[in-house]
């Protein structure tokens, strides 16, 4: 078993764990953070599968922008909730 395969397995397992945590975590912020991390790992996955274009896009859009949008929503919700 060469290195690539081992990396693949590690990435896969990590992704699944993160996905599970993202769904099941009690805190919404944590959930979003797990999602972001998952997205970063997916970037690794894309690179492993020789799709650099997708990897770049996913890195910028998926883990960057989407996470920020989630966080902004949560922030504004918290503010409304505090009022």
């Amino acid at each position: 078993m060469d290195l690539i395969n081992i990396v693949e397995i590690i990435v896969s397992v990590l992704m699944l764990i993160l996905a599970f945590l993202a769904i099941n975590s009690k805190s919404l912020v944590k959930s979003v953070m797990f999602l972001s991390a998952l997205s970063m790992l997916a970037v690794v996955g894309f690179v492993l599968m020789k799709a650099p274009d997708v990897a770049v896009t996913e890195a910028v859009i998926g883990s960057g922008l989407v996470t920020s949008l989630f966080i902004f929503t949560l922030l504004s919700a918290r503010k409304v909730g505090n009022k």
Partner: protein, 111 residues
Amino acid sequence: MLQYAAIAMLMLGLYGLLTQRNIIKIIVSINILEIGLNLFIVSVGYVEGGIAPILTSDFNNNGLVFVDPLPSALVLTAIVIGVGTTALGLALAKNIYQKYGTFEIDEMGEE
């Protein structure tokens, strides 16, 4: 392996949709489902030992074994569409929060 992980992520996305009743969590689940889907799409075009579908000075002719470029192209589209729906979903979530003061569907009551 990554293909199985992709399918598993799809399933986890469905699992999330099935069990979660928090709007943010539902959107997170949808995102997980989409990431899984994107991974699966790319995995369909993967060729063992193939190279990334870009001609460079190192890999400089079309006789080489490339991985399938078409799924990558499709995934690009799919990712952007995913962002669109996510942004919309979050905007709706914000609206819902303004209306009901909660993200939990169960606490909103039947309309």
